[in-house]
């Protein structure tokens, strides 16, 4: 019915020594919120550590918009260190000597899980825009099927930042009996108007690129590299903070003594953004970017429960630890605290930690010792409650 294999990547690995991880090919359908279904689908994933005999030490890591399953190991496609290598590993806050970490690539993604760049088995052509719209709920449903396939019923902890945090909330709401503890970081229970607006700028940049070809660029042998780069540049600004940009770049000029009275990259910040844009194009699929940003826009956990966020969690026995960062204006403290208030309203077990930093939304990916201490303490306490050594 299903099988584990090496994941199929869209590009050739630059770091062939890097562990490509696994892929699970499901021969059963994934039903989607949009009403359609994927008749068959694949979830690519990485694991770290060892599942104990009781299968009680599983930690599920959910990735953000532009990230992937390579959370704690060399990414074979970029050769770079895992995006949460600071947090996950032997002796680290999520200690892989104790816990079995699973990090799947989301449905709609472009790192081996089924997404718009993959071949549609019905036509033999890449899906492109025929790929159905997916939601955060759909991503989580696919992950639940993966855990079923791996024989893991209960997750000790589900953790993620940004869109990963949305998946954490969806997990806790949809599968409360399977989730012992949950750590949503720098996230929200709904995407705000401002966040939808930024996403729309990114999508329109991609769509306006003539090389996008109505979404069928794979068939035409083109790539909307300029559009995707602009989308990434705009988004990247939202991941930082005004203070951090000022501190790092100020008005410093790029490789020149004076302004050029032209439109080249006079300022270091421009050059930095260009670099962010072009390097992103090398590792991400433009249609995937459209689909995943849309999934985030559609996320509104309260709307699925008659407008009451508290109802999404009524009766929950999951322990929650919500983490926010002071300078995060994309998913500000108030949005994170809204989740905490909803959990309070149903007398859930919830901790709320706000960490002082000027590094903006991206702080959740950076060296933030207070975040590490919080995750370590909370996870240890959850592990103790389940007798996990």
């Amino acid at each position: 019915m299903a099988e584990t294999a090496n994941p199929r990547f869209l590009r050739t690995p630059v770091a062939p020594g890097g562990d490509p991880g696994q892929a699970y090919d499901f021969a059963l359908p994934l039903r989607l919120d949009c009403g359609r279904a994927l008749a068959q689908f694949t979830v690519a994933y990485m694991t770290y550590g060892t599942l104990n005999a009781a299968k009680s030490n599983a930690v599920l890591v959910c990735h953000a918009l532009s990230l992937d399953q390579f959370a704690a190991s060399i990414n074979p496609l970029t050769g770079k260190l895992g995006w949460w290598d600071v947090l996950i590993g032997p002796g680290k806050a999520i200690d892989t000597d104790r816990f079995f970490v699973i990090c799947p690539n989301v449905i709609g993604g472009c790192m081996g899980s089924t997404g718009p760049a993959e071949i549609d088995p019905a036509t033999g052509e890449p899906y492109g825009l025929t790929f159905p719209l997916v939601t955060i709920d759909d991503m989580v449903r696919a992950q639940a099927m993966l855990l079923d396939a791996l024989g893991i019923d209960e997750i000790l902890c589900v953790i993620g930042g940004s869109m990963g945090g949305m998946q954490v909330l969806e997990w806790a709401s949809s599968y409360p009996h399977r989730v012992v503890s949950a750590i949503p970081i720098a996230t929200a229970a709904r995407h705000s108007a401002q966040n939808i607006a930024f996403h729309e700028v990114g999508r329109q940049a991609i769509i306006a690129d003539p090389d996008w070809m109505g979404g069928a660029y794979q068939r035409h042998g083109t790539r909307p590299a300029k559009g995707l780069a602009v989308a990434r540049m705009a988004a990247h600004i939202t991941y930082l903070s005004e203070a951090a940009l000022q501190r790092k770049f100020g008005r410093a000029l790029q490789n020149r003594e004076a302004i050029s009275f032209g439109f080249g990259p006079d300022f270091q910040i421009e050059s930095y953004l260009h670099h962010q844009g072009t390097s992103f194009v090398d590792r991400f699929d433009a249609n995937s970017y459209l689909y995943i940003t849309r999934a985030m826009d559609y996320f509104d956990l309260a709307a699925d429960h008659d407008g009451s966020l508290a109802e999404a969690f009524r009766g929950t026995r999951t322990r929650f630890c919500i983490i926010a960062f002071t300078s995060d204006w994309l998913f500000p403290t108030a949005e994170n605290k809204r989740i905490a208030h909803a959990l309070n309203a149903v007398a859930a077990n919830v901790s709320f930690v706000e960490i002082e930093t000027d590094r903006g939304h991206d702080a959740f990916l950076l060296d933030e010792p207070e975040m590490f201490a919080t995750v370590r303490g909370f996870l240890n306490s959850a592990a103790a409650s389940r007798g996990v050594k």
Binding site: R319, C321, A340, H341, N344, A345, V346, A347, N349, V350, S351, F352, V353, E354, I355, E356, E370, A373, T374, R376, G377, F378, N380, S381, A384
Partner: protein, 209 residues
């Protein structure tokens, strides 16, 4: 396990094993940590200082940053066996609303506070004509967080006004020992440095929301 501050030990003694407990103003979490380890309680905390909150969570406690004045309204009624407000009510903006919320959220409430009726405080004001400063209330009038100080008699009157039933009242003396007291007698109000009340909502309690 660290030894508890004597007033916190007196509070801990009032809490039955395995109770669900909300500690409002839980500070560094030492009471919650003790109750979890020694009595197996299901403990939660609310704390104003983010620094304290982060330290509590890193120690495995369930604590949320929040304010007794603004954040209690969202809790449902009668969800905790015991709600604790230790040495905090005098620093709230609206002690009346806070007490009403304690009695609503918890089946029982424990409130401790410094007694502004202590003879040394009375004498200090009489003799010096300046706002009193004591080792436990060591603030100048203009920068104190304790904006609603009260005496034991004042608190007993507020509890009565709320229709609360006082199950136990303890006077906390200078020698660090607790004595049972009658909340309305003049002696403890003059000699106790602080007081601990164990209360529950009475029949004519304010309507639950």
């Amino acid at each position: 396990m660290k030894t508890l501050r004597p007033d916190l030990a007196a509070i801990a003694e009032m809490i039955p094993p395995a109770a669900s407990v909300l500690d409002i103003g839980c500070g560094d979490g030492s009471l919650l940590e003790y109750l979890t380890a020694a009595k197996g309680v299901d403990g939660r905390g609310i704390e104003l200082s983010q620094q304290n909150v982060n330290a509590c969570v890193a120690r495995g406690l369930s604590v949320i940053q929040g304010d007794a004045d603004t954040d209690l309204a969202e809790y449902p009624s009668q969800v905790f066996d015991i709600v604790i407000l230790s040495q905090t009510i005098q620093a709230t903006r609206s002690p009346r609303t806070v007490l009403a919320n304690l009695l609503r959220i918890g089946r029982k409430a424990i409130v401790s506070f410094p007694n502004f009726g202590h003879w040394r405080i009375r004498l200090s004001l009489l003799a010096l004509g300046r706002m009193p400063r004591t080792p436990s209330l060591d603030y100048a009038w203009c920068d104190t967080p304790n904006i609603h100080l009260c005496t034991i008699a004042d608190f007993a009157a507020l509890a009565r006004e709320q229709g609360a039933v006082t199950e136990r009242a303890l006077a906390f003396g200078e020698e660090g020992r607790t004595h049972p007291m009658s909340a309305d007698s003049w002696g403890p109000n003059l000699f106790a440095e602080s007081a601990i009340f164990l209360l529950h909502a009475g029949g004519n309690a304010p309507p639950k929301n």
